[in-house]
């Protein structure tokens, strides 16, 4: 049984709906704002995302440590005929994903330069934020699906309208790709609800009810698992469902790239834990080798393809396939360390990759090109930008003392306990990621400026830019040096998930050394 706490946490209003609705209301307001007031639009956008941040942080602070279940749960019947309800809740798996989403949006909104039509841009960004937060907080399958799909139109618009030259192709490709995945998830979701309803006599989209029901046979379970996994594999993206990503990532405006890398991919990896593993434990165990293999292949493949790219954004985009492959390998070890570390790594990766794309945006804005061959020598001209860039680079490469190492080490350790060779294969990524990122850094910052780069006037980071990136760098260090308070909140829920898998399948966690029980 999954414990559910409906305590308000001392807030005078239900906190979770407030977190979702705050950006949504602001987005609607923005649509009604007069067109000629760009400053006001920006102020509303930044203000609303900061209010959301405040709410999310307050929630995370009040989140009770040591509880495996859902907290701050609110539930209102919505479509009683179909058992659909407006039910929100947060546990250790989602609490920091919500928090990091709320941190990244203000930075993505305020950090990069906004292009034309700031009003529309802000509105779509806030709508996207609401959809992402709603997805993380939904405890109802139908509600989750709605929020999950609602992330598409804003992202589509952000790429299609504010992106680079080839944006239209990229936007459509992104849309069709992810939509195809979602369609499979929808079918699987309906089938699951239908099958459970046949056994229990009650049609319900309630996540907890469906998690505990477990009436699906192992064969059907595997098919439904794959239906859900398809949507998330595209979203993450897992090799070989990744080819929308480089195009989308390259063409997206800086803010869009940050959100894609920092938040949207987390939706996919979060979905793997919350839906694939929790709803279908038996299929997760049976199909773990498939997921582990896709993840591990993606790591090597992503880095190898990245290293020969000549477009800076495209190069880093391919590393996302690899980095997220590591998370998939961590999660499907199906151990406490694997899942706790995987969730922790989602947070880390969100922070570091958002910072990386913010910085890349600064580089590209300054030099007016994404081509690595036209860069070089930037460290002498922008030492502060270079210093921040190297810190973020080292965090992604997994240098201990910074955030990336903690998540990566813990989750691969967890997977090693149950699926030794996949963890070993995934660890090859630590060599390849160093190769890719240091090569990128060298081409941008080392050497002497190329003729093109030398021809542009370049300024170092201004105060506004520093202020935007500083919170992310702070988190990179904090999460690397003092992960304990985070793990203390994530661990109980990760343990709950693993115990659930063990209870349903009767075979997990497998025997490992006494002290090393996962």
């Amino acid at each position: 049984m999954i414990p559910v706490s409906t305590a308000s946490g001392g807030f005078p209003f239900p906190i979770l709906p407030a977190i979702v609705i705050a950006p949504a209301i602001a987005a609607v307001l923005l649509f009604f704002l007069p067109r000629g007031r760009p400053g006001l639009a920006k102020a509303v956008g930044i203000g609303a995302s900061l209010v959301t941040l405040g709410l999310a942080l307050a929630m995370a602070v009040r989140f009770e440590t040591g509880q495996p279940g859902y907290q701050f749960v609110v539930s209102h019947s919505w479509i009683p005929a179909f058992g659909v309800s407006w039910k929100l809740g947060v546990d250790g798996i989602s609490v920091f994903l919500v928090a990091v989403t709320a941190v990244l949006f203000p930075v993505a909104i305020a950090g990069p330069r906004t292009g034309e039509d700031p009003k529309g841009y802000m509105a779509w960004m806030l709508l996207l934020e609401a959809a992402c937060l709603g997805s993380f907080l939904s405890l109802d399958l139908f509600l989750f699906f709605l929020f999950f799909e609602l992330t598409l139109p804003p992202m589509y618009m952000l790429i299609g309208k504010w992106g680079f030259e080839n944006r239209s192709y990229a936007a459509i490709k992104f849309f069709i790709y992810t939509f195809a995945g979602s369609a499979l998830m929808l079918i699987a979701m309906l089938a699951l609800v239908f099958i459970d309803a046949r056994s229990t006599g009650v049609v319900t989209f309630d996540l907890i009810a469906n998690t505990t029901a477990q009436h699906v046979s192992s064969g059907i379970g595997a098919v439904l698992f794959l239906g859900f996994a398809a949507a998330f594999a595209v979203k993450i993206p897992v090799f070989p469902f990744h080819t929308w990503l480089p195009d989308a990532q390259v063409e997206a405006p800086t803010g869009g790239s940050m959100v894609l890398a920092g938040v949207l991919f987390n939706l996919g990896t979060y979905g793997l834990v919350r839906f694939c593993i929790e709803l279908f434990p038996r299929a997760s165990v049976d199909l773990a080798p498939l997921m582990l293999t896709l993840g591990a292949v993606g790591i090597v493949y992503g880095f190898l393809v990245a290293v020969v790219q000549t477009d800076l954004k495209r190069m880093i985009a391919y590393t996302l396939v690899a980095d997220l492959g590591v998370v998939v390998v961590g999660l499907f070890g199906l151990t406490t360390q694997g899942i706790s570390g995987g969730v922790y790594q989602m947070v880390n990766h969100g922070v570091s990759m958002a910072a990386m794309f913010l910085l890349i945006g600064m580089v590209v804005d300054r030099l007016g090109t994404r081509q690595l061959t036209a860069m070089g020598g930037l460290q002498a001209r922008t030492p502060i930008l270079a210093a921040v860039f190297i810190v973020v680079t080292l965090s992604i490469v997994g240098v201990p003392g910074l955030n990336g190492f903690v998540g990566e080490f813990v989750m691969l350790l967890g997977t090693f306990l149950t699926h030794r060779w996949w963890a070993v294969a995934a660890a090859v990524g630590m060599v390849l990621s160093a190769l890719v990122f240091l090569w990128a850094y060298q081409q941008v910052f080392h050497g002497r400026p190329t003729a093109h780069a030398a021809g542009v006037a370049v300024a170092d980071l201004g105060w506004r830019e520093l202020a935007a990136v500083a919170p992310l760098v702070f988190l990179i260090v904090l999460l690397g040096v003092y992960p304990r308070p985070f793990f203390e909140r994530i661990n109980p829920s990760a343990t709950r998930v693993v115990a659930h898998v063990g209870q349903v399948t009767g075979q997990y966690p497998p025997a490992v050394a006494e002290g090393a029980r996962p």
Partner: protein
């Protein structure tokens, strides 16, 4: 004063933080002095802790301090903490001691460099990381230091980043090290999965009943990490390139301290090594072969720093040989004495390079003894020490290893002795070419600008700054450059007293005994054998010196003694670049161009094209009605969903 232990770690860390955030306010020389003071304070703290440990009786010389819980996940609990015992404090003492001297030296050496402050930021971070590595009470915090020193090494090799060779050398060092670290990480996984902890004490107390296969796997995987960090075969190729960094960095990181981390790790893990004799044999053989191969390459180098770099690899090979022969005391002894004389060699070489306006080619040196008497004198001490001439420290420490090697296998001993011959030879060649004979630098370097295409310490654009005053006759640096030389020379003379092989004077061996256990030391050998081995290596070393003097004295053009095979490091770099850079690059391009673009994306676009043929929706979308399209899809979803839902519910 065991309570001084946190200060050892904290002082360099605070120095790093202060310099990072307010280095600009401090200004140039002040930043260097602050960094030096932080490390000197760390040295003082180390001395206090050392004194406290000496006060304990030998069975209780191991104190654990836990500062905070770092990573807690289920059964996996890791702290940030230190294990103060004879091994760690010995390391801390020589690391902080040598670092202090090199910091001091750098204040003058890096004067007028535009990145002066950043240099000390990195240097302090390096010292912190190195201390974390050696003081840690668990494998993971050691790994933090391990990667930290690797990162600093990367940053400092690529310090003069506008030179492509420096930038590439930094990257190469990091990546080659990462290959070894991959092994290290897998070893940690294996250790945890068997013992349920990564604390040194916990791990070593859970070794009862582990299988030999497990121990061998762990030992060899840790060895992979050590081989990367200590530049042993087959991962040695990064260290010669690392000489692109400023010379004090070469002295501190790439000779005295960081590269010895591999030997430290092996010593720390000795309880595991003890369970796997086959690994010990592999370690010993690898060390011996590395010592020999690197020494042959050193014989044919013209760049003074590259000679020293290959020499470092060779000397580290000796230390691995010592570890493999379970002579941990001897290996540590050689590590310390090597730190003294090799740091001295690099600093003195830096003094030469500095005086000659960034010249590194020995063929363009000569006759410098007259103009740089302090440098030449101190260099000579280090030359005798590394060549193995008594009473200098290198003689005693190298013989301790060779004696133990003889006990393990006379073949290993023989390889070691041949290496002694080569070492004495190439060091004498260096000495003769640099300090004696005619001055070749006047003709070679009339102006102040570096010769194009030739390795020069600094980028051309930055030589003028602080070095305009060197246009005339070369001269010694200021006291802050010569004092470290003199101190290190003094240590190279008396360092042997740490561990003399007779009269029960093996202080270091006895000091380390409680940490490593099961170690071989020369006390077990008969006096006759000991003296015989000592005399044999001494004769060999003297022959090497005589040979080099005979061949190179007043005769610096001898291409027949510098075969291309050796000068080019057996073409190892070419081989690696052909296999990995070209081969890997070709595979990457194939994956990117063929697989990703054609196969995977081709499939996707093919499906999309079919869809496009079927409807006009997409075409309209591309002509500007994107918003309608998006909203339409979203609305459509809801409709379809509702429909299916109603069917499902019935």
């Amino acid at each position: 004063m065991i309570h001084a232990a946190p200060a050892i770690l904290l002082l360099p860390l605070v120095g790093f933080a202060v310099l990072t955030f307010s280095g600009r306010r401090l200004g140039d020389p002040a930043a260097g002095w602050l960094a030096t003071a932080a490390v000197a304070g760390s040295f003082v703290a180390s001395v206090l802790v050392f004194a406290a440990l000496v006060g304990h009786d030998s069975a209780h010389r191991s104190v654990e301090q836990v500062y905070y819980r770092w990573i807690p996940v289920g059964g996996f609990q890791v702290n940030v903490g230190v294990l103060l015992d004879p091994l760690s404090i010995t390391m801390a003492l020589f690391v902080t001691g040598v670092s202090t001297l090199i910091h001091l030296y750098s204040i003058s050496y890096m004067k007028a460099d535009p990145q002066f402050r950043k240099f000390f930021v990195y240097l302090n971070l390096f010292v912190f990381s190195m201390l974390a590595l050696v003081l840690s009470n668990n494998f993971l915090f050691t790994f933090l230091g391990w990667e930290g020193v690797g990162t600093c090494s990367y940053l400092l090799i690529a310090f003069w980043f506008d030179r492509d060779t420096a930038a590439s050398a930094g990257k190469k060092a990091f990546i080659v090290n990462r290959i070894g670290d991959f092994g290290f990480v897998i070893a940690l996984f294996l250790i945890f999965s068997r013992t349920g902890t990564l604390d040194y004490r916990g791990v070593f107390s859970h070794l009862g009943g582990v299988s030999g296969g497990w121990a061998t796997a762990v030992a060899l995987l840790l060895l992979a990490g050590a081989v990367g960090k200590s530049a042993q075969l087959p991962l040695w190729v990064w260290l010669p390139d690392a000489m692109e960094g400023p010379t004090p960095v070469s002295a501190l990181i790439h000779a005295a301290t960081m590269v010895t981390a591999g030997v430290f790790l092996m010593t720390r893990a000795s309880p595991i090594l003890h369970l796997t004799p086959v690994s010990l044999t592999i370690i010993a053989a690898l060390g011996a072969v590395t010592a020999l191969v690197a020494a042959t390459v050193a014989c044919a180098q013209d760049d003074i720093k590259r000679v020293l770099a290959y020499s470092t690899i060779s000397q580290l090979g000796y230390m691995f040989l010592g570890v493999g022969a379970t002579a941990y005391g001897a290996a540590t002894f050689h590590m310390v004495s090597h730190a003294f004389f090799k740091a001295l060699l690099f600093l003195a070489a830096g003094s030469v390079i500095h005086a000659l306006n960034n010249e590194q080619d020995m063929k363009r040196m000569g006759g410098l003894a007259k103009v740089l008497p302090v440098t030449a004198g101190t260099f000579a001490v280090a030359w005798l020490a590394i060549s193995g001439i008594p009473p200098f420290c290198g003689f005693w420490s190298k013989d301790a290893i060779l004696g133990a090697a003889y006990g393990k296998s006379p073949i290993l001993w023989a390889i070691g002795v041949v290496t002694v011959l080569l070492t004495a030879y190439y060091m004498t060649r260096l000495m003769v070419l640099t300090f004696t004979g005619q001055a070749r630098w006047e003709t070679a370097r009339p102006g102040g600008s570096p010769t194009p295409g030739h390795s020069a310490e600094r980028p051309a654009g930055e030589t003028q700054g602080g070095h305009g005053d060197h246009a005339g006759e070369p001269h010694e640096g200021p006291w802050i450059m010569t004092v470290p030389l003199i101190v290190l020379a003094g240590l190279s003379v008396v360092g042997g007293l740490l561990d003399l092989p007779f009269l029960n004077l093996e202080f270091l061996d006895h000091w380390l005994d409680p940490v490593v256990g099961h170690q071989t030391n020369l006390a077990y050998q008969s006096a006759g054998l000991k003296v015989g081995l000592l005399l044999a290596t001494l004769v060999v070393a003297l022959s090497g010196i005589a040979l080099a003097r005979g061949l190179w004295w007043r005769n610096w053009r001898r291409p027949e003694l510098e075969p291309a095979l050796l000068a080019n490091n057996y073409y190892a770099d070419d081989f690696y670049s052909r296999v990995f850079t070209s081969g890997g690059g070709a595979m990457s391009r194939f994956l990117a161009a063929a697989v990703d673009n054609r196969v995977i994306d081709g499939t996707v676009n093919g499906v999309a094209a079919l869809a496009r043929g079927g409807g006009t929706v997409l075409r309209r979308a591309q002509t500007g009605y994107v918003r309608n399209y998006a909203l339409g899809i979203a609305a459509g979803t809801v409709v379809i969903l509702g429909f299916m839902l109603s069917r499902a519910g019935s």
